[in-house]
């Protein structure tokens, strides 16, 4: 039994169900309460759980993340929200030096059940400080886990796994996915494990690895390519840390071609790591360059055509796939 709900509703359900289940779960962030979150993700939670458990905070990202960490160390299971990925920079020390390392530095003793929800992605003409996808940076920070769902099913299931877990999780929500609908089970209590990629479409000619918000575009591109006889396998890693390297490598060993797509900037984005993993683990199987399709290496411009120009588009994906499929070594 399934039903169709939007990505943002899936997230809201995950939070609500976990808050009902476990009194140590609470939500904290800027305008998450009365306002319901600037993207409406937490709408209604304030009414159900009250201001104690759905806490509007001052505009103080260091204190938000740091207080979440302290509460986690003291036995709570906080969910904190960073409104735009761009703003996680303000809380960077608390994320990178404190939350990520608390367990290790204490010799494994600290429990850090802290979920940090962060929006990423360009919502359209939001310019340089409201469009970034910083997830790649944190892959370089051991101690963090990183979830980056692309479907309502995963949004709900991965968020539950994050909330129930014992480790700090950065949970990236692409703004343009919030309204996207998809099937989720009626059953309240499913979770999606970390570290298991999903093969969204089977194919034989090339593997597209699509990270987060670009999945719908990747699927469309695959449809289009199918019409011209190119069979694309689309793999969604679902979590970047842990990363299901095995599934990625196996797919590329089969298709012999890899295209990696994400909305983070191209240079040193998550795709760099994925490409490096494939260049180590599947080198003998590659019949073409590993290609990355991602946002060009410039800050996000305000003008929508300029923005489109730098974002990875359907056309870019199709062209990249055709390029590698037509490539001869």
């Amino acid at each position: 039994m399934t039903r169709e709900i939007a990505f943002s509703k899936a997230l809201r359900e995950a939070m609500a169900e976990e808050m009902r289940r476990d009194s140590s779960v609470f939500l904290m962030g800027e305008d998450v309460g009365v306002f319901g979150g600037v993207f409406g993700v937490s709408a209604g939670l304030y009414d159900e759980f009250g201001e104690e458990r759905v806490r509007d905070t001052p505009i103080s990202e260091q204190a938000i993340v740091g207080a979440g960490l302290g509460a986690a160390l003291a036995g709570m299971r906080p969910i904190v929200e960073i409104m735009f990925g761009d703003f996680v920079t303000v809380a960077m020390d608390q994320v990178v030096n404190q939350a990520a390392k608390a367990r290790y530095m204490s010799g494994g003793k600290a429990q850090v059940p802290l979920t940090i929800r962060i929006t990423n992605g360009a919502p359209g003409s939001a310019a340089a400080q409201h469009s970034q996808s910083p997830e790649g940076w944190f892959m370089n920070v051991p101690g963090l886990k990183i979830a980056i769902p692309a479907t309502p099913y995963d949004a709900k299931g991965l968020l539950k796994t994050a909330i129930r877990g014992e480790d700090p999780v950065l949970f990236f929500e692409h703004k343009m996915l919030y309204e996207v609908k998809g099937e989720v089970p009626e059953d309240d209590d499913y979770t999606v494990p970390f570290g298991q990629a999903a093969i969204r479409r089977k194919g034989t000619d090339a593997t597209i690895v699509a990270v987060g918000g670009v999945l719908p575009k990747a699927m469309e591109a695959a449809d289009l390519l199918a019409k011209s006889g190119i069979s694309v396998e689309v793999v969604d890693p679902r979590t970047l840390v842990p990363l299901d390297t095995e599934t990625l490598i196996e797919s590329v060993k089969k298709t012999n071609r890899a295209i990696i797509i994400h909305e983070a900037h191209r240079r040193a984005g998550p795709g760099a790591e994925i490409a490096a993993i494939l260049a180590e683990g599947a080198i003998g199987y590659l019949d073409a360059p590993i290609v990355r399709v991602a946002t060009k290496n410039v800050p996000f411009p305000y003008n929508p055509e300029l923005e489109d120009f730098i974002l990875p588009g359907m056309g870019d994906i199709v062209e990249a796939v055709e390029g590698v499929v037509g490539y001869t070594l």
Binding site: F35, V90, A127, A128, N297, N303, L306, I310
Partner: protein, 342 residues
């Protein structure tokens, strides 16, 4: 000084202490800001403007009063709610409207939009999309002025919500320590997005925080352009004399949503209505006339000029070319070197 709980439409400052030119300029700038915002909102609805707008309707007196105390070569940093600051510092509505419309003729060639407009020639170091993000920058500009022995000051605009960011604190401490010629201008409009100021800080008067940095904090009626001007003038004099920063808190209110489209469920009609009674523009207008500082006809003429300027601005914007998409790749760096940056 005002207590926000008791709105009044009586201004307590004395227009007659100021030259007429000055009064008319203040009035003109306030009207220009108000009408610019209303045009921009309309043009956004009409499709000319693609991005979000955080309008400053209702807050014209803080922008205009503060910038009127600055010289052309003084610097400001602004915020997400920055159109008023820019106009008050001399920004040209044509280039502003063109920027909002994402045209190549805009202040940033269409790359910045509302959140990032800047004009270094006018000392406008930029609006900012990061709450409190511009405060350290203003402090640094003041440091440059001080180090070079120049008679220039910098003024950072920010909201009541920004005062709780670490960036404010660090910059204020540095400025107090080094007695930098910087003015911290807080527009306390009682809300940060949908959260009332009382749920963001345990103190209602943010100006008192200045004491912790060893410089004065003053409260001004942010809806009285002359009160703001006088407070800022005193702060600027202090800064130019080498005595360091001042924190000015202008108590004010935004009449519209946090952004255009905000449902505003977080505040009451009564509260909004009470503040509307204190609209800084009609209050100043009434006062100018009552004190015989200006005639109805003079003010009408100004209002007409503003409309004409804005007609021109909108036409300029609408008639300007969009930038070439490939120009997205330009302007990341000032110099090229070997190697690849893409």
């Amino acid at each position: 000084m005002n207590t926000p709980s008791q709105p009044t439409n009586q201004l307590t400052t004395q227009p007659t202490n100021h030259p007429k030119d000055h009064l008319l300029t203040l009035y003109c700038r306030m009207v220009l800001i108000r009408e610019f915002e209303l045009r921009a909102i309309n043009e956004r609805r009409a499709g000319l403007i693609p991005g979000f707008i955080h309008s400053c309707v209702g807050q014209e007196a803080t922008a205009v009063g503060a910038c009127a105390a600055l010289n052309a070569d003084d610097a400001i940093t602004s915020t997400h709610r920055g159109h008023g600051h820019l106009i008050a510092k001399g920004g040209d509505p044509k280039y502003m409207m063109a920027e909002l419309a994402a045209r190549s003729t805009g202040y940033c060639g269409g790359k910045g939009g509302s959140l990032h407009m800047a004009d270094f020639d006018l000392g406008i170091l930029g609006a900012n999309g990061i709450v409190a993000g511009g405060i350290p920058m203003a402090t640094g500009a003041a440091l440059a002025f001080q180090m070079r022995g120049e008679d220039r000051v910098a003024l950072a605009f920010f909201g009541d919500g920004a005062v709780n960011e670490g960036a404010f604190h660090e910059a204020a401490n540095l400025a107090g320590l080094w007695k930098l010629p910087v003015i911290f201008f807080c527009e306390n409009n009682l809300y940060g997005e949908g959260t009332p100021q009382s749920k963001q800080s345990p103190v209602a008067d943010l100006a008192m925080r200045a004491e912790g940095y060893a410089f004065p904090g003053v409260i001004a009626d942010g809806n009285d352009v002359l009160a703001v001007y006088e407070a800022t003038q005193a702060a600027v004099n202090r800064a130019r004399a080498g005595n360091g920063p001042t924190f000015i808190e202008g108590k004010t209110y935004r009449f519209r949503g946090h952004y255009e489209g905000d449902p505003m469920a977080y505040r009451s009609k009564e509260e909004m209505e009470a503040w509307r009674q204190r609209d800084p523009i009609p209050a100043f207008r009434r006062r100018l006339i009552a004190d015989a500082a200006a005639s109805e006809g003079e003010l009408r003429a100004i209002e007409d000029e503003v409309q004409a300027a804005l007609d021109e601005a909108v036409q300029f914007a609408a008639g300007s070319p969009a930038p070439d998409p490939e120009s997205a790749l330009e302007g990341v760096y000032g110099e090229t070197h070997g190697g690849s940056v893409f």
